[in-house]
């Protein structure tokens, strides 16, 4: 994972609630290897017609939204399937942050593990932001993880919260597993104690 850098980018509005991960990354691309550019599959069925031509109405097919790195969406973005490929698609396309009033739980945690910052802001703030960036295409939004702030096109600053550890990992491009591996002794001790308890789940070696 690459360290998260401050963003100053065109913001892209997705004007619909409950955008599920099937729409972000249709299931027929799930078998593609991670080495593929998943950005090509992002919002595939919203972005492209069956013959591969662009759907002109879709926001990512319009200038200057095409080059956005910040997505602004409505409630419950990324609900549904646990496919991490949805995050890969957004990341590979170039997105580094998604701002929404709420996220699907699994999408939220997948995003943090892949360098995509999910930012929760209040409903009214997101609604105002969506209005601005739709009315004035090309409006820029700034995201700074260090100070945990979003600066809207009108200059207003909005703070957001994030788990300090997730922030640390994002800022430094660290992997959670590396940290866990430094705590293996704790895991081994737990397992030793746990082995004496009843009904600890099925095992294939007994």
């Amino acid at each position: 994972m690459k360290p998260f850098e401050p963003l100053d980018s065109v913001a892209v509005p997705i004007m619909r609630a409950n955008v599920d991960t099937d729409q972000i990354l249709p299931a027929r691309y799930l078998q593609k290897p991670r080495s593929d550019d998943f950005g090509a599959y992002l919002f595939r069925d919203l972005r492209f017609r069956k013959d591969g031509s662009e759907v002109p109405d879709f926001v990512l097919n319009q200038e200057p939204y095409r080059h956005g790195r910040i997505l602004v969406a409505e409630r419950n973005f990324g609900c549904g399937s646990s496919r991490e490929h949805a995050v890969w698609a957004l990341y590979d396309y170039g997105f580094r942050a998604v701002i929404a009033p709420s996220f699907g739980d699994i999408f939220h945690s997948n995003a943090l593990k892949n360098g995509l910052l999910p930012i929760v802001l209040p409903d009214a703030t997101v609604a105002a932001l969506l209005k601005t960036i739709s009315a004035r295409p090309g409006s820029r939004v700034k995201v700074d993880l260090a100070t945990q702030t979003v600066v809207a096109p009108d200059g207003t600053t909005h703070s957001f919260t994030i788990d300090p550890f997730a922030k640390h990992c994002l800022m430094h491009g660290l992997d959670e597993l590396d940290y866990t591996l430094t705590e293996m002794q704790r895991i081994i001790e737990f397992e030793r104690r746990y082995a004496g308890e009843v009904a600890t789940g099925p095992r294939s070696d007994r």
């Binding site: 619909r16 609630a17 409950n18 599920d20 099937d22 729409q23 249709p26 299931a27 027929r28 799930l30 078998q31 593609k32 290897p33 991670r34 069925d45 069956k50 409630r75 419950n76 609900c79 549904g80 399937s81 646990s82 496919r83 991490e84 490929h85 995050v87 709420s102 996220f103 699907g104 739980d105 699994i106 945690s109 997948n110 593990k113 892949n114 788990d163 300090p164 550890f165 997730a166 959670e176 597993l177 866990t180 591996l181 705590e183 293996m184 704790r186 895991i187 737990f190 397992e191 746990y194 308890e197 009843v198 009904a199 600890t200 789940g201 099925p202 095992r203 294939s204 070696d205 007994r206």
Partner: protein
Amino acid sequence: MSDTNAPQTLFEKIWSRHRIMERPDGQVLLYIDTHLVQDGSAPAFEMLRRRGIAPRAPHRTFATPDHYVPTDSRDLNTIADAEKRRMAQALMQDSARAGIRFFGLDDPRQGILHVVGPEQGLSWPGTTIVCGDSHTSTHGAVGALAFGIGATEVSHVLATQTLWQRKPKTMRIVVDGRLKTGVSAKDVILSIIGKIGTAGAVGHVIEYAGPAVTSLTMEGRLTLCNMSIEAGARAGMIAPDDVTFEYLAGRPFAPAGRDWDEAVAYWRTLPTDPGARFDREVTLNADEIAPMVTWGTSPEDVVPITGRVPDPNAATDAERRDVIERTLSYMGLKPGIPMTDVPIDHVFIGSCTNGRIEDLRSAAAVVKGRKVAAGVEAWVVPGSGLVKAQAEAEGLDRIFKDAGFQWRHAGCSMCLGTNGDIVAPGKRCASTTNRNFVGRQGPGSRTHLLSPMMAAAAAVTGRLTDVRRLMEGAA
């Protein structure tokens, strides 16, 4: 430390038992008892290989292919797409390399993981169960904490048998009363989602309770917990009781002998203590639940079969009106028409939601002596090889086949179409699955979620139908 005498919820009891340590930011490292892996797990195994780490607890890991397997043959070589074929093969190879128990296509135990887990007795009360699939919530029906995870988390569990989690909030959904004839667990969960919305339980673990829940069979409970994720909850659970113990007793991987007695004694301590507090409580009355069917592209777009397609002009605000208009345009539905006027092209009975033996029995009871309507393509895809064998032993396959259904092999199949079983663009499917998202069953597909009984009724009439009318013989 918390007061150990304070009343605790089922969730809290499981959470605290599996808590290894807490990070300064409040995230807890949880021990994972059981890890189920499916044939979408190749990226996670690859992440591990790149780091030179071997799976830590292969004896706590169980694998079966479900997403990419063909349902018209039991031969992986018949998968035309090389990449899809590789996904199914990779699971076999990764499992063999790591010493993970694997149920392949030549094994009758193969099937959809969330059907296989309970069926094999892999899903135990009081345990933590994860899988790289959002419908892992299913296993909560036995009183486990079970939830879906992403690929990076799968690799974390493979490497350490643990997972970092922030303690979720708790929500209790009490369903009072009694389910009426023609109404099933599927209708209960669709009603719940209709009431609280698809984001209703985000950040929460749901505990389902109340007389209409405890009177469900284990299979009904599995259906209920399965769609917790469609209500936004990562996990849903039901307190273990005699129904649970009777279901698990004697299953291949369930505890046996003295271990069984000890396990049951422990499991009886798990139900939520009287007076334990939930962050949120929701109540429904089962007497008021009718057979449900979705009209739109989110599971929350749901009405009783006696209802109508919504009219955008009746919407309270412009934004909502636009959403309904867009949805009806995708779904090809006229505003305000009765749901029972909607003709269908496909019927799909199966999936981790409704691919179990009781589901097939309830559908077969409706189909028996009737024919699939002209022009309708109807499929039954049992949830596992063992469900298929059981159904065949009971003669259910004959009922379906005589009526004109296709009787296929176990897999996820048309629920999401990863194996190529899809609904053609613009076609309409009455489906016992869990998601009616845009393009879920194939690009341009139109899905109506409903129960197996309701799917059977749609198959024989060729339109969405109130199954209760067929039961009265009033068709």
